[in-house]
Symmetry: C2
Subunit: 117 residues, 2 copies
């Protein structure tokens, strides 16, 4: 799914953007990181329905894509903090708009359902 060849020229940057942030939990992860640096288990607590495996995987992809920075402290017990990179921060306005739009969308879905009853 990831890292296909983006040979096409038009509309594909939209696709690339959606691939970067459209992973199953990435939007929510990024949204929480907009609040500031978070530790691994902090994120887990914020997203209880995400398994540890998936959280790790999504964070690694975001790191690979230059959106999230991972800082490992050489301590015992281990401490790992995640934060947006400068590039990741350029997503903030988009994430905020997505949240606003998503909220409208959820309202609309709820309205559609209640009018069917």
């Amino acid at each position: 799914m990831r890292h296909k060849s983006y040979a096409c020229s038009f509309g594909c940057s939209v696709e690339a953007a959606i691939e970067a942030i459209g992973g199953k939990w990435k939007g929510v992860i990024l949204f929480h990181l907009m609040d500031g640096t978070k530790r691994f288990n902090e994120l887990r607590r914020l997203m209880p329905s995400v398994t540890q495996r998936m959280l790790t995987k999504q964070l690694r992809e975001l790191e690979r894509d230059g959106i999230v920075h991972r800082h490992v402290y050489a301590e015992v017990p281990p401490r790992v903090e995640y934060r947006l990179t400068a590039f990741g921060e350029t997503l903030e306005p988009i994430l905020k708009e997505l949240e606003a739009w998503g909220s409208q969308y959820l309202n609309k879905l709820a309205a559609l359902r209640s009018e069917k009853e």
Copy 2:
């Protein structure tokens, strides 16, 4: 994947938004529909790598979600046109920003690769 219960309160509207537009081809479809009404095979020509099955499926989901309107003309041969709904049009600024960001992102990926060589 779709129509989970959105019981949670925070960050989930981002998730909902991404689920609505994050389908494999939805971003590109919507981007093309921003140009104006398109017939089914017009969209196919604009996105040659999308199979007919997938295009149909994604369009049906966008229709169900109130983002795209499907107009069937009672003609022979059949004619079906797709266009953004009023609600779908509220996505336009977001899609444009996603495209701009995606373009930056692709540049960044290309830079990362070339500096590894």
